[in-house]
Symmetry: C2
Subunit: 189 residues, 2 copies
Amino acid sequence: MEALQFWFEPASTYSYVAAMRIEEECARAGVPLEWKPFLLGPIFAAQQGIKDSPFNVNPVRGRYMWRDLERLCAKYGIPWRKPTIFPRNTVLAARVCCAAPTGEVVRAIYRANFAEDLDIADALVLAKIVGAEPVGRALSPAVKAQLRVNTDEATRLGIFGAPNFLVGGELFFGQDRMDDAIAWARRDA
Amino acid sequence: MEALQFWFEPASTYSYVAAMRIEEECARAGVPLEWKPFLLGPIFAAQQGIKDSPFNVNPVRGRYMWRDLERLCAKYGIPWRKPTIFPRNTVLAARVCCAAPTGEVVRAIYRANFAEDLDIADALVLAKIVGAEPVGRALSPAVKAQLRVNTDEATRLGIFGAPNFLVGGELFFGQDRMDDAIAWARRDA
């Protein structure tokens, strides 16, 4: 079975919903999973000329998203608290996900941001959540370069938001397309 | 059972996918359906300051959408041909949907636009598709006013794209949320 790549950004609310479910859903379907953290900031800047979340730039869409997140988290039994800062600066958090691309680390960072309202921009907060070791490695030039490679690859893939599922060269955008992506991975099974 | 309102715009590709399925899915679930045509143009202009489809304004997102539409139509067995003009001017088509808000009329207009590549901006084309009578009524000031009322109501509801499902005061955006909206309509059933 070919792997499904989960392309996510720690600041992205809809990525949170998908991140909390993807490992379990892939395991259930027998689909190998690869965690692919990237940054939306450079992509939004290049494609839309904005320096903020599109949900802040268009507050009508933002109001919908916040209500939708409550509903989605209730639907899937995922804890939710609207963060007091949005979007948080996720450069270091995304680097930590590059340094330790595991479900445990990714989910811990998302829970901190969207269930516990902790400032995941802060290295001390991150170290408390996932341990000092991956945060230390995240500060290295090698991991910095890896995140840049991922973000460049996201751009090349035609990514314009998050989360995304990439399987067999097919991109699926949005948490609500997880099932379609998993079905695509299993299409010859 | 309370009614589910389907808020759609004849120019919207994702509305097409939903429009072809919504009546059957509501019938299966025993949920009454109300067709609510509106125009996205004034909403995009007011919220985003653009005079074109967001899929044209951001071509990266546009490329994804066209591929996604092929996949979605294949998934649901819906005919699909990429229109040579996008978006088409849908003022008259949306008025026809106001004049005759039935599944038969709405689906015929969508099929013309997205399966037959016909110019639904043209009154003669519309008359061929749905008959002269509803097109004649669509030209009246009363129907013109009705479409404006719908678009104003869409704005008031916090709509920022299409399609949408409104049920019990809850708005669900995107064709992939049809099941969630129908489940919401049935939540006390």
